[in-house]
Symmetry: C2
Subunit: 332 residues, 2 copies
């Protein structure tokens, strides 16, 4: 199924993107060819998700030559875009792809078109990977599957149709998925905000649950399988993903429910031997003590808020990528 | 340790209570001898927790005779208080205790004093039970215990020092508890609001975590035991408590961490054979889609929000009550 919303697209020499910071309450599309505006969008999480950030930055850097081929402007745009999200690997990779193309064609009168062509290729490659992953992932479903997912591994995190959520959408299109339970995903509610938005748009029946309700549903035999994305996969299969993923995996194990990871092969870090090498980012307390303008609890109280956890390979039934489906023991 | 805040108290013929609806942001005490004001406080969750509601209602009904012994006023006060929380068993029990006392002494010139005396007895009995439970519960701790708790089973839910949280406080007083991790407890944040307030007041070191972070802490070997309250315990030991408790119990089992229930004997329902007989209340979607004035997600999205779950007896290491500590197989 094609999404009937656009995460980002390149139309008439402008970038069109949905403002994710306002979802799902306001569905706002921004159309711009301004490099600074796109840089700001990445900084403000209006565009988020590593693959989506890479594609947007590639278009932005190419657009810096749209009106005027000027090396000084190109270089300053490159530097500006590089500072938007200092830890996003896809961002640097995509910017450097456009820079290499520039270095190769800078004396060509069609250099702008060459850069756009390369950005489109990067975009299409992301779309292709998302769809290949969904195709590969179909084998996890039986008829009438009721699926649990956590956080957002959907179109909104990629420039294609998503990772884990694209697998679910494909399963629904093929008549195999009946229902999806969506963990709201504290503290930032990516589940109840973004995944719910995508499922609603795709016409897939779902319910939002609090994160701690998943175990209760498993006990009631209302969940047949869980599938989630990953932020980084170690060569032994240990997978880092949004905090709470590990709790889902433990509960799946206890209730004898299969637990799957779906991620592009670029998420596999062959230099990382195991989950123990993955450093876990700690978030600030504001996300726990406040919601927008409203205070939940006293801001002086201590908060411990890791952004990710690591699910050990032994709890992962299989890992679905754009290339293949992998089974334990994993050895990437 | 005595709490340095008062949940409810009877002083100079008036009821003094802390307004729990405003905690922890505002620590407001209400002093009143007005029956309607106390009835409203119960309705608005300014006074909450089954034992606390019962004690407050007992004082309120006794206070209806403070200025004037008038059977009509007594009866209408009884009816008014009965409608405040239609499902709270302790409420009806406490009101009927005061009514029986009234029927016995209604021709006695000291009938008001007799009713107050009975209300004080009910209050003292709750305090005694909380303290007996804490004393019995001490055996769950070794030195330097790091404890996980879920929801609020503290002084704020009783008119004494609490149930599970009183066990933890006692363990801290005896030098056995080093640190407490508090599940924030979605959707109503009783952990981050109320349990955090009580721990802060008691000077016990703690961190608030999202509910789905508990498993990650167990994996990191940062939790030695979990202890929670209960809303209803079946005769086979199956225990209903706040949604998310079951997920804590499963994670404790997987990580080989003891999981305890602490509750007064009045919570044990001998007529209930097993957890399967316990009906689970479903909450409205507003608690998931909004926080106070702020909207989290689209209010049209479907939400599934059970208020409680049932932890099977086999996952409960022991059940601590005011009478004794019980071990499996439970047979109440």
């Amino acid at each position: 199924m094609k999404n009937n919303f656009t995460v980002l697209n390149f139309v008439n020499d402008e970038l069109v993107f949905i403002n994710q910071a306002k979802l799902p309450l306001i569905e706002e599309y921004i159309t711009t060819d301004n490099v600074d505006r796109i840089a700001e969008a990445i900084e403000r999480l209006e565009i988020r998700g590593a693959p989506a950030i890479g594609v947007a930055a590639a278009y932005a850097l190419a657009l810096s030559l749209k009106n005027n081929v000027d090396e000084k402007i190109f270089n300053s745009s490159y530097e500006r875009l590089k500072t938007t999200r200092p830890t996003a690997v896809n961002l640097f990779w995509a910017l450097n792809e456009i820079k290499s193309t520039y270095d190769k064609y800078k004396d060509d009168k069609n250099v702008y078109e060459k850069l756009i062509k390369r950005a489109v290729e990067i975009h299409n490659e992301d779309i292709r990977k998302c769809d290949a992953m969904a195709e590969n992932g179909l084998i996890i479903f039986k008829k009438h599957s009721r699926v649990l997912t956590h956080c957002n591994a959907g179109a909104l995190a990629t420039s294609g149709n998503g990772t884990a959520l694209n697998v679910i959408k494909k399963g629904f299109d093929e008549g195999l998925v009946d229902f999806v339970y969506v963990d709201e995903t504290r503290p930032l509610f990516q589940g109840s905000r973004l995944t719910a938005f995508e499922l609603d748009k795709a016409g897939i029946p779902f319910s939002i649950i609090t994160d701690s309700t998943a175990a209760f549903l498993m006990q009631q035999k209302k969940i047949d399988l869980a599938v989630v994305g990953a932020d980084r996969i170690a060569s032994n299969g240990d997978s880092a993903n949004k905090i709470g993923t590990y709790s889902v995996a433990v509960n799946c194990f206890y209730h004898n429910i299969p637990f799957y990871i779906a991620a592009p092969t670029t998420t596999i870090d062959k230099n990382c031997k195991s989950g123990e090498e993955i450093k876990i980012e700690l978030r600030g307390k504001q996300e726990i003590t406040h919601f927008k303008s409203e205070q939940i609890t006293n801001e002086n109280y201590d908060v411990y808020s890791p952004a990710f956890d690591v699910t050990p390979a032994k709890l992962i039934t299989s890992i679905i990528t754009d290339l293949s489906v992998y089974y334990p023991p994993y050895n990437f």
